[in-house]
């Protein structure tokens, strides 16, 4: 992250902030998408944090923590988006498959399907912890610090998320992959 750009944006330089936003938008979008599992909601979830970050940036005391701060705002936006989504999609069963189809093996598809279904059962706090830890590669301590949550809470969220996903995989393994494939067909 270019700290000079952050400093300039903090001082009100809109073009500097636009440059930062262009550079980070895709990364933020990927994180939001992995948490929300929906392209449109992920895009919605990214837009508001960018605006919020611009508005609140002068109050950020440590500019070197800008990216972590922005991710924290993004994660909260994802929580809000997930909450909104849950109000109207509770009974929606169909799962959108985003992105280009890849030549995965049958077993890969079955595994992804199981993970997807397991993941959607997780509360958004557990989803966020799981994505930040397993996708961005943040340590438990980094996730805790950047989200402003106690380390033990993050550990606990990861433990629940992992056990839920493993249970989904185990359930699929017990009923063979055929069921999942049939469901996706």
């Amino acid at each position: 992250m270019n700290l000079a750009l952050v400093e300039a944006a903090r001082s009100g330089d809109e073009e500097a902030f636009a440059s930062i936003a262009r550079g980070l938008a895709d990364r933020l979008f990927v994180v939001a998408h992995r948490i929300l599992r929906d392209v449109a909601r992920a895009e919605d979830a990214v837009q508001q944090p960018l605006v919020t970050a611009w508005r609140e940036l002068p109050a950020l005391r440590e500019t070197e923590r800008f990216e972590a701060w922005l991710h924290r705002i993004l994660v909260h936006a994802c929580y809000a988006e997930a909450k909104r989504a849950s109000k109207w999609s509770a009974n929606v069963v169909a799962l959108p498959i985003d992105g280009p189809a890849t030549p995965d093996t049958t077993q890969d598809i079955v595994t992804r399907d199981a993970l997807d279904r397991g993941f959607r059962r997780l509360p958004s706090e557990q989803r966020a912890a799981f994505v930040l830890h397993h996708y961005l590669g943040w340590s438990v301590a980094e996730v805790a610090e950047n989200l402003g949550v106690p380390t033990e809470s993050i550990r606990s969220r990861l433990r629940y998320a992992t056990s839920t996903l493993r249970a989904a995989l185990d359930a699929d393994a017990r009923t063979t992959g055929t069921t999942s494939l049939e469901r996706m067909a």
Partner: protein, 434 residues
């Protein structure tokens, strides 16, 4: 599937998916940014618009009542007023020299008592001399604040001689304000309506100011020591300007003695935190009660942001004073068997990453509602903790004021700790249990 296999599968699954945000989504965000102003502080706005405008009708009504009383030469005794001196009979003659300003009427001897007794304003940072026998009503509130904001900020001298002299002042953020800004501040108070830039000059206590005259009213403004002063004479006298000048010549501006701490006249009883305190109710937006119980161990820190990007303050009863200070307060149960100082340092300091970070055992002492507590001060923040009835109470003042400690002490003096009234935490949900 072992742990490594699971991690690999999970990572592959997470990496699979779209990696680029659409251009239109990014452009939409940038457009919104273009129309969004940056905020200058993390806390809610400190400087709210001053007061609502009641309109000229209210001003006129006040004026009519005041002048009506004066015309009848009636001096009413009220419980919160004091009669000073002897008879108000205009037997003596005031010597208005030296005239404090170029006046529209020549300085001359007027039929008015000598100004012999000094009144020192308890809040507004000035003193003035007045005749021996007058009715004095000292200011009860900051100028422009409170339910009676049109009157409570003024020191009022009712002479009983068809002339009421009033004075008020307010602290300024910095520098000398523009004439337009001053016009905006005093328009609620029935001014003559002449733009300040077009008003005549006057000198009060060596400071250059402006003065305007209109039927039954003379009004002068002057800036000194970072304060704006407003002096008004309501009258039904033909020699009103000479009377005003006589008063003005005795004014001693002492901005360093002004008190900018509000009189906290409204009591708030926290439905969550087990205490009450006084505050100055400015109407909607002044006070935001806590929504959640405070749990410093498990909740995000105070400078975290909630889903809307606002500071995460849901556990706090928050008072926005509109005076460059926000008062926040919360309380929580103290776990059994812990050392208070150590627990506060470990739990609360972590919860307040922007806090003062002085170990509690090294902090100064403060007494709140008879309970001994600790207080620390650092730039733009004062934090106090006190224990009562098995609860830890936290009181914070975030501010941009030089007199912040006096401001905090004013709040602290009104606090009534009621640990027995604090809301109890609900039992934890089953799925949260290990």
């Amino acid at each position: 599937m072992n742990e490594n296999e699971f991690d690999l599968a999970a990572r592959a699954w997470l990496e699979d998916g779209p990696t680029e945000m659409s251009d239109h989504a990014l452009l939409s965000a940038l457009e919104e940014i273009h129309t969004t102003r940056q905020r200058r502080a993390v806390w809610p706005a400190w400087r709210a618009t001053r007061v609502s405008i009641f309109g000229r009708v209210a001003i006129a009504a006040v004026l009519v009542v005041a002048v009506g009383l004066l015309a009848g030469n009636v001096v009413r005794r009220q419980p919160n007023r004091s009669i000073v001196g002897g008879s108000p009979t205009p037997s003596a003659t005031a010597d208005p020299t030296p005239s404090p300003s170029p006046s529209s009427s020549p300085a001359h001897a007027i039929d008015f008592p000598n100004l012999t007794t000094t009144f020192v304003s308890p809040r507004n940072g000035f003193s003035i001399k007045h005749p021996d026998r007058v009715v004095l009503t000292p200011a009860k509130q900051l100028w422009g604040f409170g339910p009676n904001h049109l009157t409570d900020g003024f020191d009022v001298v009712e002479t009983g001689l068809a002339a009421v002299f009033k004075g008020a002042s307010m602290g300024l953020d910095d520098g000398v304000p523009s004439d337009e800004w001053v016009d905006g501040q005093i328009e609620d108070y029935g001014g003559c309506g002449v733009p300040r830039s077009q008003q005549a000059e006057i000198t009060i206590d060596g400071q250059s100011g402006r003065i305007s005259e209109c039927p039954n009213q003379i009004e002068a403004t002057v800036v000194a020591g970072g304060r704006l002063y407003l002096f008004t004479l309501l009258h039904t006298r033909s020699d009103a300007r000479a009377v005003f000048d006589a008063f003005a010549a005795t004014i001693d501006l002492t901005p360093e003695t002004a008190v900018d701490v509000a009189n906290l006249t409204t009591t708030f009883v926290s439905p969550t935190n087990g205490f009450s305190f006084g505050y100055l109710d400015r109407g909607e937006g002044t006070l935001t009660p806590a929504k959640d119980l405070w749990d410093p161990v498990n909740q995000p820190p105070i400078d975290g942001l909630d889903a809307s990007g606002a500071p995460y303050l849901h556990q706090f009863d928050v008072v926005e004073t509109a005076l460059g200070a926000v008062f926040l307060s919360a309380s929580t149960n103290i776990p059994d068997g812990v050392s208070i100082d150590e627990w506060v340092d470990a739990a609360v300091v972590k919860y307040l990453p922007g806090g003062c970070h002085t170990p509690r055992s090294q902090q100064a002492e403060i007494t709140i509602d008879g309970q001994s507590g600790r207080i620390s001060e650092c730039p733009n923040k004062i934090e106090a903790t006190v224990v009562a009835g098995g609860r830890l109470y936290l009181f914070i003042l975030t501010h941009g004021r030089t007199d912040a400690r006096a401001f905090f002490d004013a709040f602290a003096a009104t606090i009534d700790l009621r640990p027995e009234d604090a809301r109890c935490p609900r039992a934890r949900r089953r799925r949260d249990r290990p």
